[in-house]
């Protein structure tokens, strides 16, 4: 089996009705694949289905593997699929640093200081050095998006699934965050599945595109 995210005849059913034509996927580590389709085509639901986060009304069909492993029997928290939404969804009752700590898995024997140092280093790398103690509500949109990306990366994902991650940003920020995502995907060698209704994303990211076609 190959590395990365692969799927054969993947399809999603809602109450028994198929949402799009079955599709095949192959996303290599460090590569971005763009999924587009009109709203309601089921592209966002497909990401949630891969994470195991959809209610029983939805059924995911077909076979798929991450680095050759079949994840279907695993609970969502053990699949290690990093999921990002359009909004940053930082928890409002935690500081920026605590939001990162929320996602950072505990290493056995690691002291609190060492953990804190890891979080601080992560923030510093993203030009957010002094932001650990800040209220997430005081961050700008771009900063929030960066923290959300950091939070997901800290959770140790084996793939990235992004649901319209740039749609809420203005064009300048969008380009900045897009470049950051692309760089992180390459650096961490993660297969990345990106959902957008905007086909122009593909050109900007240099990504392959798969269009979800309605069941005819």
């Amino acid at each position: 089996m190959s590395a990365g995210l692969t799927a054969r005849a993947l399809a999603l059913r809602l109450d028994g009705r198929r949402l799009f034509r079955p599709l095949d996927l192959a996303v290599a580590p460090g590569e971005v694949l763009l999924l587009t389709g009109p709203s309601g085509s089921g592209k966002s639901s497909l990401l949630l289905a891969l994470c195991g986060l959809l209610p029983a009304r939805f059924q995911l069909e077909g076979d798929w593997w991450l680095d050759g492993q079949d994840l279907r029997g695993l609970p969502p928290e053990s699949r290690h699929l990093g999921l990002l939404f359009q909004e940053a969804l930082l928890l409002p009752h935690l500081t920026v640093g605590e939001n990162l700590g929320f996602a950072l898995p505990r290493r056995p024997g690691e002291t609190r200081q060492a953990r804190r140092a890891r979080i601080a280093a992560t923030l510093a790398e993203a030009q957010l050095a002094d932001y650990g103690e800040r209220d997430p509500a005081t961050l700008s949109g771009g900063q929030r998006a960066r923290v959300a990306l950091l939070r997901t990366l800290l959770s140790g994902p084996r793939a990235l699934l992004l649901d319209e991650p740039f749609a809420a940003l203005d064009p300048v920020l969008r380009a900045e965050i897009r470049a950051l995502v692309a760089a992180q995907v390459r650096r961490a060698a993660l297969p990345c599945l990106l959902v957008s209704h905007d086909p122009a994303e593909a050109a900007a990211l240099g990504a392959k595109t798969i269009k979800l076609l309605p069941e005819s």
């Binding site: 928290e77 929320f102 002094d130 800040r134 209220d135 140790g156």
Partner: protein, 548 residues
């Protein structure tokens, strides 16, 4: 669910059996015909029914009119300010308001003192029947004073901040005066949110026992008071009559709600026609109507302020506005009694509220995880105790408890309070809980949190403020409960409510004031705590110049 349905169903069920002459838990049975004949022959039944109906409807209409007229003239700033003013008044139990109001409007009350002798010439309390008047005016006033803050708070929440304001602007730009615009444009948007609270207010006004006892007419009293007099007759011979009367009361409340529903439909049609006619009436009189609301709010505040005064009064001769001598003697002499009553009340309130929160959270978390909201039927059942006449429910449930030999036990007491506390806690928490962005949970799961951890570390902290508010509401409801405490406790469990009612028919006025004051303070304290603990977390200020 069974937890709630059982008291209501068994309560009404045992009433039905008793009224049909089939079962009397406390005495002998005769046939159904005899029971009902006895009820209809009972002296004072029909006047009592008439008084209940007039006071219930009049108080509800008065409170509604005051609320609407006040809001018609209130801008955004006044509305925000009003919200802060009325919230504490809503928390105060009706009994405490009634007792305070009695101290305020009685012939020897604070208002008469403040006006005497310079305005009235009174050197001694006038011989006027201001409390317990046969027409029930004091009762109507008391209910309106208690319910106006509640309706105002519901209306303020329903109006929100932006949407209605824009609608009003449109109406104003089309040539409507401010008050006319409000009634034509804002009210139709607001009324649906007021409907169920209004039904609750009407049902409470028709069925209230403790407010009627303090302020209501006596010869004959309202139906609720009359029923309880029968039920508490030592010979137990009148119990079947009380049961049948309770069923009559249930019927009356149902009928009254139907009448109200018809009335609001008719008025709604008239209102639409009025708006469509395109008139340009100024409705200048509505400004004066706002004064009515201020009067009611002021009376409510005065009722609260007079309580500490009385509890600390030493010597207080009539026309003096303040006591001649202050004294903490009452608090010293009655200290242990007051403290143990306060302790019992607080303990019961905390235990009930804790249980109610637990059940509500279990139900809501189950709903979140299964993705299925509770059905209409279940929701309706939950709210049933709030609409059922309290006397009927208490008598029936009390009979069922007596049948099970559970009277006076802690579980019985807890359960009886839960029937009222749980619906309020659920109403307070369900909305905010369902509004939590579900993607927070999805994101947390993907970050590696188990299902249970999402509840503890995501949903619970996100719902902290409404959770605390729901707890405060639960405490306020439990502290206010009189009949369920009396019936389930078998008179052996003194709370602030039961002791205050016992004293209200002529006991130590200072002790009565002290108990009513504590009954008002306990919920206020709970709300203050909920507010201060529920404030959003304060983060360290961002470093200067670091905002990018």
């Amino acid at each position: 669910m069974l937890l709630l349905v059982l008291p209501v169903a068994s309560g009404l069920g045992s009433l039905l059996l008793a009224a049909l002459g089939l079962w009397a838990p406390l005495g002998a049975t005769n046939g159904a015909a005899t029971v009902w004949q006895d009820l209809f022959d009972a002296p004072g039944l029909w006047p009592a029914v008439a008084r209940s109906l007039t006071s219930g409807f009049a108080a509800t209409l008065l409170a509604l009119a005051a609320t609407l007229l006040l809001l018609a003239g209130a801008g955004l700033r006044l509305r925000r300010w009003l919200g802060r003013l009325v919230a504490p008044l809503v928390a105060v139990p009706p009994l405490a308001v009634a007792v305070g109001l009695a101290f305020l409007i009685a012939p020897s009350g604070w208002i008469a003192r403040l006006l005497s002798p310079w305005a009235t010439g009174w050197q001694r309390p006038p011989d006027l029947l201001l409390l317990n008047d046969p027409a029930g005016l004091a009762l109507i006033l008391g209910l309106a004073v208690k319910e106006t803050p509640f309706l105002l708070l519901v209306a303020l929440a329903g109006l929100g901040e932006g949407e209605v304001e824009r609608r009003l602007l449109v109406a104003r730009s089309l040539g409507q005066g401010p008050a006319a615009a409000w009634f034509k444009v804002a009210l139709p948007a607001l009324y649906p949110k007021l409907r169920w609270p209004l039904y609750a207010v009407l049902a409470y006004g028709l069925g209230t026992y403790e407010v009627a006892l303090v302020l209501g007419p006596t010869q004959p009293p309202t139906l609720a008071v009359l029923l309880l007099t029968w039920a508490q007759d030592p010979s137990l011979a009148l119990w079947p009559r009380a049961a049948a009367g309770s069923l009559l009361q249930v019927l009356l409340v149902a009928l009254a709600l139907l009448v109200w529903r018809q009335g609001e439909r008719r008025l709604g049609r008239l209102g639409r026609a009025w708006a469509a006619r395109g008139g340009r009436g100024r409705l200048g009189w509505s400004r004066a109507g706002g004064g009515l609301a201020w009067l009611l709010l002021l009376l409510g505040l005065g009722a609260l302020l007079v309580l500490p005064l009385w509890s600390l009064a030493g010597q207080w001769r009539f026309p003096a506005a303040l006591p001649q001598l202050w004294s903490a003697e009452l608090w010293q002499r009655q200290g242990p009694l007051v403290a143990s009553t306060l302790g019992g009340t607080a303990l019961l309130a905390l235990a009930t509220t804790g249980l109610a929160l637990l059940l509500t959270l279990l139900a809501l978390e189950h709903e979140t995880l299964s993705g299925r909201p509770a059905g209409r039927g279940a929701t309706l059942l939950l709210y049933l105790p709030l609409l059922a006449p309290p006397v009927a429910l208490a008598l029936g449930w009390g009979a069922a408890l007596a049948g099970a030999r559970a009277i006076g036990s802690w579980p019985a007491l807890l359960w009886s309070h839960l029937v009222y506390v749980l619906p309020y806690v659920f109403i307070a928490l369900a909305g905010p809980w369902r509004r939590i962005d579900p993607r927070h949970a999805l994101s947390a799961r993907a970050l590696g949190l188990r299902r249970g951890a999402v509840f503890w570390r995501v949903r619970l902290p996100l719902a902290r403020a409404p959770l605390l508010a729901a707890a405060a509401i639960g405490i306020a409801v439990s502290v206010a409960l009189y009949l369920p405490t009396l019936v389930a406790g078998g008179g052996r469990f003194p709370t602030l409510a039961t002791e205050a009612v016992a004293l209200s028919s002529g006991g130590d006025r200072r002790l009565l004031a002290a108990l009513a004051l504590l009954q008002a303070l306990l919920p206020l304290l709970a709300f203050l705590l909920a507010l201060s603990l529920g404030r959003p977390r304060r983060f360290r200020r961002p470093p200067q110049g670091a905002i990018t």
